[in-house]
């Protein structure tokens, strides 16, 4: 049970729980549970297919986009976590974004990036009680560890080094519709993704 906490300089009242679960086996069960609504309401996360994630900077960039849109009243999805998945994607249609960038339906095992937006201090404007505290983080991590089956490995810290092993450049090329623009150079690819995320829908 390891995780990271992300903060954005410009949005100091958000704390983001972040963890990477590798070799997840019961992804279909989680996916179906979320889709049918049979999973309990407090099981509220943004699950991302780690294959599409190249870097932490890409995740930060999507978080920024998400918080800016929220502050401007321009959110397209109903919840911040769905909005976040949609902000990682290139597609306008939210269902399509969930299919391509959320929990994948194929594969025996998959790698998942799990994010949860928490509110620190008295700025909890969520109304859903997702306040930040060290205990809350531990509870979230425990909740995920028991729900996600990956041979007891649990989550690991979300770092660029870890993401390097889980990113799938072919998937990124396809899902971000890069075709000719695609570059094997990770730094260049990263900037292309960030630009795409920032400019989506504009």
């Amino acid at each position: 049970m390891t995780y990271s906490t992300l903060t954005l300089p410009q949005f100091p009242h958000y704390r983001i729980f972040a963890s990477l679960y590798k070799n997840v086996k019961n992804h279909r069960q989680i996916r179906d549970g979320i889709r049918s609504g049979s999973i309990s309401a407090d099981f509220d996360f943004a699950f991302l297919n780690a294959a599409n994630v190249l870097s932490l900077e890409q995740i930060y960039s999507a978080l920024f986009r998400c918080f800016v849109d929220k502050a401007n009243g321009k959110m397209k999805a109903n919840t911040i976590h769905t909005e976040l998945i949609s902000d990682m994607s290139t597609v306008k249609n939210i269902m399509e974004a969930l299919t391509k960038f959320g929990i994948p339906s194929k594969g025996d095992t998959v790698d998942l990036v799990v994010l949860k937006v928490l509110y620190s201090g008295d700025e909890d404007d969520s109304g859903d009680g997702n306040s930040f505290s060290p205990d809350a983080l531990k509870k979230i991590s425990g909740q995920l560890d028991s729900a996600i089956e990956n041979d007891g490995a649990g989550g690991c810290c979300l770092t660029d080094t870890e993401l390097e092993s889980t990113a799938d450049l072919h998937k990124i090329r396809k899902n971000y519709k890069l075709s000719d623009l695609f570059s094997e150079d990770r730094d260049r690819l990263n900037r292309l993704l960030i630009g795409t995320i920032q400019l989506k829908g504009l």
Partner: protein, 269 residues
């Protein structure tokens, strides 16, 4: 008025230290050491000068209807940001896009440039002025090979832009900067007036504006600088093949016309 605008922006992004460095008709340019979404210690990859970022802010215009104003600001902000991303895709040296908040008229981008030996910012204008001060009859350093290479590079950049149907719209010697002290690699900045255009007229005006800017800020050597810029501009069209050559001759013949008559068309009829 200006202080009020700066205060309003500071209230909107209280955690970001702002230093006003330039003001145009439409936007204010700030420098900050705070990345909009990366915490201290995490550097963005593939960015010149990490730890220095430019914020371009288009404040609301009080004389416009608020609803219309919001829309105009959002459109102009996002089209400039899109253009920066496009230039990155094309491999043209220009500030890289970092973040955008279109409804509020904010763009974060990479800071390009460095400090010249005379402590000034490395715009083409400041650099040439410095060299011109150091030049004398025996050592015309302002006409050295590195200046020639730099001018060629500028011409090539403008050429690539034009070949892709983009016009800069405000080519002056302060909107061209040197990005690296060692290589003197030039970059164009400020794409606030840029647009897509397939018209030889617009490309010709782009060139004409720069020629005029050179002549007025660097009267002694302008002719040489301009010749070198045009060489680069020509070469990059030549390398593009038949289409490029055709575009080049269209632009240049139009450029000669524009030179005769000035930037604005006559208003007869």
């Amino acid at each position: 008025m200006r202080d009020q605008i700066v205060d309003d922006l500071q209230l909107r992004i209280p955690t970001v230290p702002l230093r006003l460095i330039s003001q145009g008709a439409e936007a204010l340019i700030f420098m900050t050491n705070q990345h909009p979404y990366l915490p201290a210690g995490v550097n963005p990859c593939d960015v010149d000068n990490p730890g220095k970022y430019i914020i371009k802010y288009r404040p609301p215009k009080p004389y416009r209807h608020p609803k219309l104003d919001k829309r105009i600001t959002a459109t102009r902000t996002s089209s400039e940001a899109k253009l920066l991303h496009k230039l990155y895709q094309l491999g043209v040296k220009a500030p890289k896009l970092i973040a955008i908040d279109a409804p509020n008229g904010l763009i974060w981008m990479e800071f390009l440039g460095y400090q010249l030996p005379d402590m000034r910012y490395s715009s083409l204008k400041n650099w040439l002025w410095l060299l011109e001060r150091e030049s004398d009859r025996d050592h015309p350093v302002a006409l050295a090979d590195n200046v020639k290479d730099c001018c060629n590079g500028i011409g090539r950049s403008i050429g690539v832009l034009h070949l892709h149907g983009i016009v800069h719209g405000d080519l002056t010697t302060s909107n061209i900067v040197l990005t690296d002290e060692a290589t003197l690699k030039p970059s164009l900045i400020d794409f606030g007036l840029s647009s897509y255009s397939g018209l030889p007229e617009d490309r010709a005006v782009d060139l004409y504006v720069l020629e005029r800017a050179l002549k007025s800020t660097h009267p002694v050597y302008a002719e040489k600088y301009w010749e070198w810029i045009l060489d680069g501009y020509h070469d990059v069209h030549e390398e593009d093949g038949k289409r490029g050559r055709k575009k080049y001759s269209e632009t240049i013949s139009r450029f000669k016309e524009v030179r005769m008559r000035g930037r604005k068309r006559t208003m007869i009829g």
